[in-house]
C-alpha cells in the first residue's frame, strides 16, 4: 500500500516502483526467454521419442496383422497415429487393419481425416476408393478413383494403372460405357509395351469395344506375331466384330486356349457352311445346304440314340432332305432360307437334347442370325 506524505515524496516513490518493476520485468523476461528455449528443446526431444514410439507401434501392428490379429493390430496402429499424427503410412495401415477386423466405417473416417489434410493424395484416395468398392458404393468409389487418377503428383504410369483398376471396377459393377470412356482416356499416350497394350486390349474387349481391342492386339502382333495372348485376343476381338474371315485366318499354336480354338473353328464353319453367302454358285449353295442337313441328321441320330430314344428323323427334316434333292434349290433363295430356318429350329431342339454344343451348332446359329432368319 502506497501512502505518501507529499507530492514530491509520492513521485519519488513512484519512480522507485517503476524502476524496480522495470528491472524485475527485464529479469523475468530473460527468465521467460530461457524457459522458452529450454521447454522447446524438451518438446523436441519428446516429439522425437513420440515418433520413435509411433514407429515401434507401427511395427507391432504389422506383426499382429501378419498373425491375423486385425483387432489388436488396429489398436497398435491407432497408437502409432496418435503418437505421430498425420503420418500417412500409419493411417493407411490403421484403415487396412480396421477393414480386416470388420470395421469399415471407422476405417473410412480415419482415411477421411487424412484426406482432409491432403485431398489430392493418391494413396489415400485409392484406399478410400477400394474401401468404397468393397462396400459396393459405386458413386464414392468412382469419385475417389477419379481423385487418385487426376492427382497432380500422380505419374503417368501410376495414373494409367489406377485408371485400369477403375475400369475393372466399372466392368464388375456393370458400367461398360463408363469403363469404355476411361479406357479411351487410358489408351492415349500408351507406351509401346506389349503387356500394357494387352491389358488395355483385354479391358476394351470386356467393355464391348472390340474395334479398339482389335487395334491394340494388332499393334502387339505387329511387334511379336507369336504373342499368344495377342493372338487369342485378336481372335476374340475379330469374332466379336463378326469378322469371321479374319478369325479364320489366324493360325493358333497348340497351346492356345480352347475358347480361341473354338472361335476359329466356328468362324471357319460359318465361312464354309453358309448357303446364302454372297457370290456363290448355285451348286455350292446346294452343297452347303446338304452338308448342314447331313450334319443335323448325324447329330439327331447320335443324341437320340445316346438317350435311348428312337433315331427316326422328324418330318421337317425328312422334307428338307427331300427338298435338297431338287437340283434347282441352289437358285431358290426362299427355299434355302426356309431350309436354314428348319435347320435352326432342329438345332435348338438338339441343344436341349444333346449335352454338348459343337462349333458347327454355333456356326449354324450365327449363319441363321446373320440373315435375319431363325426363330
Amino acid at each position: 500500500v502506497w501512502e505518501f506524505s507529499s507530492t514530491a515524496e509520492r513521485i519519488l516513490q513512484l519512480r522507485h516502483v517503476v524502476r524496480r518493476e522495470t528491472v524485475r520485468l527485464v529479469i523475468l523476461t530473460t527468465v521467460a526467454s530461457a524457459a522458452f528455449v529450454g521447454t522447446r528443446a524438451l518438446a523436441q526431444r519428446a516429439e522425437h521419442l513420440a515418433v520413435k514410439d509411433a514407429a515401434a507401434w507401427y511395427a507391432r501392428g504389422q506383426q499382429l496383422l501378419a498373425e491375423a490379429d486385425a483387432e489388436a493390430a488396429a489398436v497398435a496402429f491407432r497408437r502409432a497415429t496418435m503418437k505421430h499424427r498425420g503420418e500417412k503410412p500409419y493411417v493407411l495401415a490403421l484403415a487396412d487393419a480396421l477393414v480386416q477386423g470388420g470395421s469399415p466405417d471407422p476405417a473410412i473416417r480415419a482415411l477421411a481425416g487424412l484426406r482432409e489434410q491432403n485431398p489430392e493424395d493418391v494413396d489415400v484416395n485409392l484406399a478410400l476408393a477400394r474401401l468404397a468398392r468393397s462396400r459396393g458404393d459405386r458413386t464414392e468409389a468412382v469419385r475417389y478413383y477419379q481423385h487418385a487418377i487426376y492427382a497432380p503428383v500422380a505419374e503417368a504410369g501410376s495414373a494409367r494403372t489406377l485408371r485400369l483398376e477403375l475400369v475393372e471396377f466399372l466392368l464388375e459393377s456393370g458400367q461398360p460405357e463408363r469403363a469404355n470412356s476411361e479406357l479411351v482416356a487410358a489408351s492415349l499416350n500408351v507406351p509401346d509395351d506389349p503387356s500394357v497394350r494387352l491389358d488395355l486390349a483385354d479391358l476394351f474387349l470386356r467393355a464391348g469395344n472390340a474395334t479398339r481391342a482389335a487395334e491394340q492386339y494388332q499393334l502387339v502382333l505387329e511387334r511379336d506375331p507369336t504373342n499368344l495372348g495377342a493372338l487369342e485376343g485378336a481372335v476374340a476381338a475379330a469374332f466379336a466384330l463378326a469378322d469371321y474371315r479374319r478369325v479364320a485366318q489366324y493360325r493358333l499354336p497348340d497351346t492356345a486356349s480352347s475358347d480361341a480354338v473354338a472361335q476359329v473353328a466356328i468362324a471357319r464353319a460359318v465361312l464354309s457352311r453358309d448357303p446364302l453367302a454372297n457370290r456363290l454358285p448355285a451348286a455350292e449353295r446346294r452343297r452347303r445346304l446338304v452338308l448342314n442337313v447331313t450334319y443335323i441328321e448325324e447329330r439327331w441320330r447320335e443324341c437320340r440314340t445316346a438317350r435311348g430314344q428312337s433315331a427316326d428323323y422328324p418330318a421337317s427334316l425328312i422334307e428338307l432332305r427331300a427338298a435338297t434333292r431338287r437340283t434347282g434349290i441352289g437358285r431358290d433363295n426362299e427355299a434355302l432360307e426356309a431350309g436354314l430356318v428348319t435347320l435352326d429350329r432342329l438345332r435348338q431342339e438338339l441343344e436341349q437334347l444333346c449335352d454338348t454344343v459343337t462349333p458347327i451348332d454355333r456356326a449354324l446359329a450365327i449363319i441363321t442370325r446373320s440373315h435375319d432368319l431363325g426363330v
Binding site: 513521485i11 517503476v18 520485468l25 521467460a32
Partner: protein, 437 residues
C-alpha cells in the same frame, strides 16, 4: 521544471504499461508451465509404463506413485490435492490472490506423479492452479499492490488454460466465468493478453495441432435438434450423478481417521491399478479415446463401458486425494455419453442423422456445462476445437438443458461444493449465465 502532477500522471501511466507487459510475460510463463506440465506427464507415463506394460506393472505403478505423492501431499505440499481450480478460486476470493510459490511447485510435482502414474485425472485443472500460482508469486516478488496481485491470478489461470487446451478464447472466458465469476470483469484485457501470449508460446513449441481431430459437422435434419436436446438432458443427469457420487464418496473418505490421509492416495492408486488391469483405457487424460469417439471410431458397447468406468476411476482418483483435475475426465465421459446417444439415434431415429462424432462432441460440451457449470466456456471451447460454427446451435441447446437440469438437481457447483466440504465458503457466488434467476 516539469509539473509534479504531470510527472505523477506519467509515472502512473508507465506503471500501468508495465502491468500490461507483465501480463504478457505471465502469459508466456503460464503457457510454458502448462507445456512443461504436459511434457512431464507424457515423459513420466512413458517411463513408468513402458511400451506394453504387463498387468503387474499396471497395478504397481499407480499404487507406488500415489504412495509417494501421498507422502508429499501430506507433508510438503498439502495444497496440491485435487484439481486446483477450487483452491485458485479460494485464493482469488478469500486470500487476496496470494498463493505461495510452493503451491505451483507442489502441484507440478504431485500432478505429474499422479496423472503420469495412471490416475484418471486431467492436466488442465492443475495447469490452471500452476499458472495462477506462478502469476501470484511473480506479483509478490515484484512487490505489486495487493489489488494487482489479486488481478494476476485469473490472468495466470487464463494463460495456462489457453496453452493446455489450445483454446485462447475459452480460456479467457473460463477465467472470467469460473475464477472471477463475473463476465464483465475489468480484467478482460489482461486475460486476453495473457491468453494470446500463452497460446502463441504453446503453438510455437507444440505446433498448431488441435487437441482433437474432428470431422466436419452437419445438422442432417432439423429434428436432430430434438435428439441433441435429449442428449442435453441426459448430459445433465450424468453430470448430477457424477457430482453427487464424487461429493458423497469424498465426504466418506474425509471421515476416515486423519492419520490415514497420508495413505489414502496410495489406496486410491491401488484401486486404479486394479481397474487398469481390467481396462487400461481409463488411465490418465484419455484424449486418445476421446479422439476416437469424436471420429466415430468407437462402438456403442465400448463407449458405454468406457464412460461408466471413467466415472468410477475419476471419482476414485479424486476422492482419494490425488492431484489432478476433472476437466479431461469430464470431456471423456461427455464424449462417451454423447457418442452412445449418437449411436442410438443413428440406429432408431426415423430421420436422417449426423455422425456419431458430432453427438460425442456435443456430449462433451453438455457434460462440461453440467459438471463445471461454465456454459460459455464450454460453447467457445468446442467451437475453438472444431472451428465449425454449424455445431453451435445443437451445442447451445444441449449445454443449456444440461446446465439447467444440473443446477436444479445439484444447486451448488462442483468446485464450490468441494470447497464447502473443506469448510470454505466463497463470499459471493454471482450469477454467471443468462438463465440465472
Amino acid at each position: 521544471m516539469a509539473d509534479p502532477a504531470q510527472t505523477q500522471e506519467r509515472l502512473w501511466l508507465r506503471e500501468n504499461q508495465l502491468f500490461v507487459l507483465l501480463t504478457i510475460v505471465i502469459g508466456v510463463l503460464a503457457g510454458l508451465s502448462a507445456v512443461l506440465f504436459h511434457l512431464a506427464i507424457e515423459a513420466t507415463s512413458r517411463t513408468l509404463f513402458g511400451f506394453e506394460p504387463s498387468d503387474g506393472r499396471r497395478f504397481i505403478v499407480p499404487t507406488l506413485m500415489s504412495l509417494a505423492a501421498g507422502v508429499l501431499l501430506a507433508k510438503v505440499f498439502p495444497e496440491g490435492r485435487g484439481s486446483g481450480i477450487p483452491q485458485t478460486k479460494q485464493a482469488y476470493h478469500l486470500s487476496g490472490g496470494v498463493i505461495s510459490w510452493r503451491v505451483p511447485l507442489g502441484k507440478f510435482i504431485t500432478g505429474v506423479m499422479c496423472v503420469g502414474g495412471g490416475h484418471s485425472m486431467g492436466r488442465e485443472g492443475p495447469s490452471v492452479q500452476i499458472g495462477a500460482g506462478l502469476a501470484s508469486a511473480i506479483g509478490q516478488w515484484l512487490r505489486l499492490s495487493p489489488a494487482r496481485i489479486r488481478d494476476l491470478v485469473p490472468v495466470g489461470a487464463a494463460g495456462a488454460l489457453s496453452a493446455a487446451f489450445n483454446t485462447p478464447v475459452a480460456a479467457v472466458l473460463f477465467a472470467l466465468e469460473e475464477i472471477i465469476g463475473d463476465m464483465n470483469a475489468r480484467l478482460l484485457g489482461s486475460a486476453v493478453a495473457a491468453s494470446v501470449a500463452s497460446v502463441i508460446v504453446a503453438r510455437s513449441i507444440l505446433g498448431n495441432e488441435p487437441l482433437f481431430h474432428v470431422p466436419g459437422y452437419e445438422l442432417a435434419h432439423p429434428a436432430e435438434l430434438g435428439a441433441y436436446a435429449l442428449l442435453g438432458i441426459l448430459g445433465g443427469l450424468v453430470s448430477v450423478a457424477f457430482c453427487r457420487i464424487l461429493l458423497r464418496w469424498r465426504r466418506a473418505w474425509r471421515q476416515l481417521p486423519a492419520r490415514s490421509r497420508i495413505l489414502q492416495p496410495a489406496f486410491g492408486g491401488a484401486l486404479i491399478g486394479a481397474l487398469l488391469v481390467y481396462e487400461p483405457a481409463v488411465a490418465g487424460v484419455g484424449y486418445e479415446y476421446v479422439d476416437q469417439a469424436l471420429n466415430g471410431e468407437m462402438l456403442l458397447p465400448t463407449m458405454l463401458v468406457l464412460g461408466g468406468l471413467k466415472i468410477l476411476a475419476t471419482i476414485t482418483s479424486y476422492v482419494s486425494g490425488n492431484a489432478g483435475g476433472i476437466f479431461a475426465p469430464t470431456l471423456f465421459i461427455g464424449a462417451m455419453t454423447g457418442g452412445a446417444v449418437g449411436h442410438l439415434v443413428n440406429l432408431y431415429a426415423p430421420f436422417p442423422t449426423g455422425d456419431v462424432g458430432a453427438y460425442a462432441l456435443v456430449g462433451m460440451g453438455a457434460l462440461f456445462a453440467g459438471i463445471i457449470r461454465a456454459p460459455m466456456t464450454s460453447v467457445f471451447m468446442i467451437f475453438e476445437l472444431t472451428q465449425d460454427h454449424e455445431i453451435l446451435v445443437p451445442l447451445m441447446v444441449a449445454n443449456m438443458l444440461s446446465l439447467m437440469l444440473s443446477r436444479r438437481l445439484q444447486p451448488l457447483p462442483i468446485y464450490e461444493a468441494l470447497l464447502h466440504q473443506d469448510g470454505v465458503v466463497l463470499p459471493v457466488t454471482p450469477p454467471r449465465d443468462v438463465n440465472s434467476p
